[in-house]
Symmetry: C2
């Protein structure tokens, strides 16, 4: 169990372990060593052991980790034993594609509401979810006990939308709008800036960095 402060970097890796374990489950593999996990994830074996050991001694010395047991532990740690609800605000191309992606590929998170204000968009249906006007968001958050919001509105609208959802009880935000949004202390924001990801790449391709520069390594 986490003692005081949760170490940020581990948390970025936990869902990756979880995905590998889901895959191993399908392949009926019941035992895995940190070295094999290393190959699957690209993280070092030592790091994987440190990560897991932080939350408890889940492995067996000389043997490895039982995949089923480890998976259950990770589900509990990440808070994904129960499917979690999320709402998405901004049903542009990017927002809709993301919603579709999550709904079809992610068994742990359910997008229970999609919201937008554009008249042509409201009322349309994406993978079975009807796009609603933004005014409806308050009741959707309450009804679904939603703590997570995905923001994919244009830059100018982002801060306003964030203020609104925070007021209605959202605790964590995935933000696709390329700006530094401000939130209260207790709200967690993670920015995904797709333009930047691509521009950083150009640096590596032109400067021709000859080390292996993968951020994961």
């Amino acid at each position: 169990m986490p003692r005081q402060l949760p170490p940020k970097w581990i948390i970025k890796r936990l869902p990756i372990y979880l995905r590998v374990l889901d895959d191993l489950k399908k392949r009926d593999i019941t035992i895995i060593s940190s070295y094999q996990l290393s190959r699957e994830t690209g993280f070092s074996a030592e790091q994987i052991r440190k990560d897991l050991a932080y939350y408890g001694a889940f492995g067996t010395r000389g043997v490895g980790y039982r995949t089923g047991y480890l998976r259950e532990k990770l589900l509990k740690i990440t808070g994904l034993e129960k499917v979690r609800n999320a709402v998405l605000i901004g049903a542009g191309h990017l927002g809709i594609a993301f919603a579709r992606y999550i709904i079809t590929k992610n068994p742990y998170i359910d997008i229970t509401g999609i919201f937008d204000n554009a008249p042509g968009v409201v009322g349309q249906t994406v993978v079975g979810i009807r796009i609603q006007p933004i005014e409806k968001i308050k009741q959707a958050i309450k009804a679904g006990d939603v703590k997570v919001a995905i923001i994919s509105v244009p830059v100018d609208a982002a801060q306003g939308v964030v203020d609104m959802v925070v007021e209605h009880g959202i605790e964590a935000i995935l933000n696709f709008a390329p700006l530094n949004i401000s939130v209260p202390e207790n709200v967690f924001v993670h920015n995904v800036d797709l333009t930047n990801e691509l521009q950083s790449l150009v640096y590596y391709s032109t400067v021709g960095n000859k080390e292996n520069g993968d951020f994961k390594k």
Copy 2:
């Protein structure tokens, strides 16, 4: 000028400085201090100064940074003075949305080819670009002097596609497929794992981390 090894973390921030400078240019602001940049970006002023100073002394003590000059320097450092070409492989919903996003929002990168193998998809047009069969990719890379590829194909196809584009001279890859792809030493891979981003968020919302946990801070 970079001496030996390029420090990874700076490079993730450079494009953000660039965007702010683009914005300042539109607003006809010609001088900016590290403290103002701090407000715009969310990074600390010291960190911004360190980042910029790594590449040279671009500012004026007691005054600040001339936005036009700094922007030019950053364009040169990031390799974005000239528009760079990129190809996208995998024209599913996510790939198409990303292509559209980059083409409409990003003045520095041009997506010059979109490739897929699905019969129903090939031949369609996205924002003026016709989707071509994957076999055509070799000549597209040569013709456009393309160094950057975006991979948005299903997991099972990803490694094969990566091997192919690397063989044709691609040096940097933005990978949306959720797996640890392997590449030669001199190729840079950056993984964008949208499922993980969302799952990490759930951890913060359920555990209720009360610190400010934004990765940017």
